[in-house]
């Protein structure tokens, strides 16, 4: 009798291995980054705790003795169905204001150019040995857009969900560290001193209201598979811009986003089981994530320099680095760099415009990858 009771309590210890210990450390490290360093705390803290939970003895929160655990139910219902990222897109859409794009639509070119990093990373991942679906999921880290990364990975490489999500959110929070050296390396001080004139005009309400509808139509006709991504994003934006649904807009920006982010984080963490996460592939994905962010920044800056070859009034090439989706971090970093060289040089209006276009570009790039990979594999 006593032996049975002791054995009952000992079973938990006996079922633990070094892998679980490592995962507890990784989970604790993510929580530390969130709390002490303020790196994407809303995501990294739930992910860290989810990683600890799922590696507890017998993985009871996932599945045990035929009983499906709470986190697996959430994973199946929210991630596999792609519901969580789409709901987050409603909140993101409600937070974005596209007005800066209407002031200077040409900056949308940077929102396209900076996404070359996604495709460069896909090529590098293929060269390393990943298959095309895995490489596409890894490349999307370069979108600097968490929900798009999760959405694409759900379709193409569910087994890499944990590492890709953790890497995507970690590097997004490291934009202030990653971008400046790349920009400095690719630009001269003279180029960084270029001033940009900003003459903002008033845009009629009809434009801001109809813009999400127009974008949804164009994107969904051009890349039909992107319809859920762009549709939910633009629905959130329409709620914001219509001017008669302020309560819904605020709910989407706050309550909806917060609740789904909470569930998404802990559910993603639950996909970090030791057997899936502790592989050499995770280290490769960390390296490739860095490649993606560096290539994004470099392609944006180089594209701006390329345009300068043909323009009489030169563009400050640092603005190209803002074509990624990390808003407003990228534009803040670039303005800070501009102030460093010349405390009176304000390029923030253009940087913000490019940054907003990057948010749009990342969703389109995700949709294109989703559409083309299955076609290429046929």
């Amino acid at each position: 009798m006593i032996q049975s009771i002791l054995s009952f309590f000992a079973d938990g210890f006996m079922s633990l291995g070094w892998q679980q210990g490592v995962m507890y450390l990784i989970g604790a490290a993510l929580i530390w980054l969130a709390v002490a360093k303020d790196y994407e705390p809303m995501l990294l803290l739930p992910i860290g705790f989810g990683a600890i939970l799922v590696n507890l003895p017998y993985e009871v929160v996932w599945q045990h003795e035929g009983v499906t655990g709470a986190l697996k139910i959430l994973f199946d219902a929210g991630i596999l169905t792609e519901l969580f990222p789409l709901l987050i897109f409603i909140g993101v859409g409600a937070m974005i204001e596209f007005a800066p794009l209407f002031q200077r639509p040409w900056v949308m070119l940077f929102g396209a150019a900076a996404h070359l990093g996604i495709f460069i990373t896909i090529i590098v991942a293929v060269l390393i040995g990943f298959d095309l679906k895995e490489a596409a999921s890894i490349g999307i880290i370069g979108a600097a857009d968490g929900p798009t990364s999760i959405y694409v990975t759900t379709r193409f490489a569910k087994h890499l969900m944990g590492p890709i999500t953790v890497v995507a959110y970690s590097y997004m929070s490291l934009v202030p560290i990653i971008q400046p050296p790349v920009v400095r390396m690719l630009t001269t001080k003279r180029e960084r001193l270029i001033r940009m004139d900003a003459h903002d005009r008033k845009v009629p309400k009809v434009v801001t209201i109809s813009f999400p509808i127009i974008v949804t139509l164009i994107a969904s006709i051009l890349v039909p598979i992107a319809a859920p991504l762009i549709g939910f994003l633009m629905f959130g934006n329409l709620i914001r811009e219509c001017g008669v649904l302020d309560k819904l807009s605020l709910t989407a920006q706050n309550e909806l986003s917060n609740i789904v982010t909470l569930l998404l984080g802990i559910t993603i963490g639950a996909s970090m089981r030791a057997s899936d996460f502790l592989q050499y592939k995770t280290l490769l994905i960390m390296g490739l994530g860095l490649v993606a962010f560096v290539a994004d920044t470099a392609s944006g800056v180089l594209f701006a320099k390329f345009l300068n070859l043909f323009l009489r009034k030169k563009i400050n090439p640092m603005i190209g680095a803002c074509g990624i989706s990390a808003f407003p971090m990228a534009s803040r970093v670039i303005q800070k760099m501009a102030f460093k060289d010349d405390p009176s040089n304000v390029i923030l209006s253009h940087a913000v415009s490019a940054n907003v276009s990057g948010q749009l570009g990342s969703v389109i790039a995700g949709g294109i990858v989703l559409a083309l990979v299955p076609v290429l594999l046929q």
Partner: protein, 84 residues
């Protein structure tokens, strides 16, 4: 490394970037002319009543201020960076 996969990834890159640029190009074109046309024909008459706010739909609104726009965020960030 699989050569076929590499070729596929190169095709994906070429087609992907063409489509991204085509989309953004189309959007630049549309936004440019649409804003010009809308400014000419639909300019907002009165900012104070721009949302058509009246008693009939006031129940669906809150007293909370609308979150800062990117331009406001930008201005705030610039000011904060300068202060440092």
């Amino acid at each position: 490394m699989n050569t076929v996969t590499l070729v596929q990834s190169l095709i994906l890159t070429a087609v992907g970037m063409i489509v991204v640029f085509a989309f953004m190009g189309a959007l630049i074109f549309i936004v440019h002319f649409y804003v010009a046309l809308a400014t000419r024909f639909f300019s907002d008459k009165d900012d104070g009543d721009k949302n058509g706010e009246n008693g009939s739909n006031a129940s669906n609104k809150t007293n909370d201020a609308k979150p800062d726009s990117p331009e406001q965020v930008a201005a705030a960030i610039a000011a904060a960076i300068r202060r440092k």
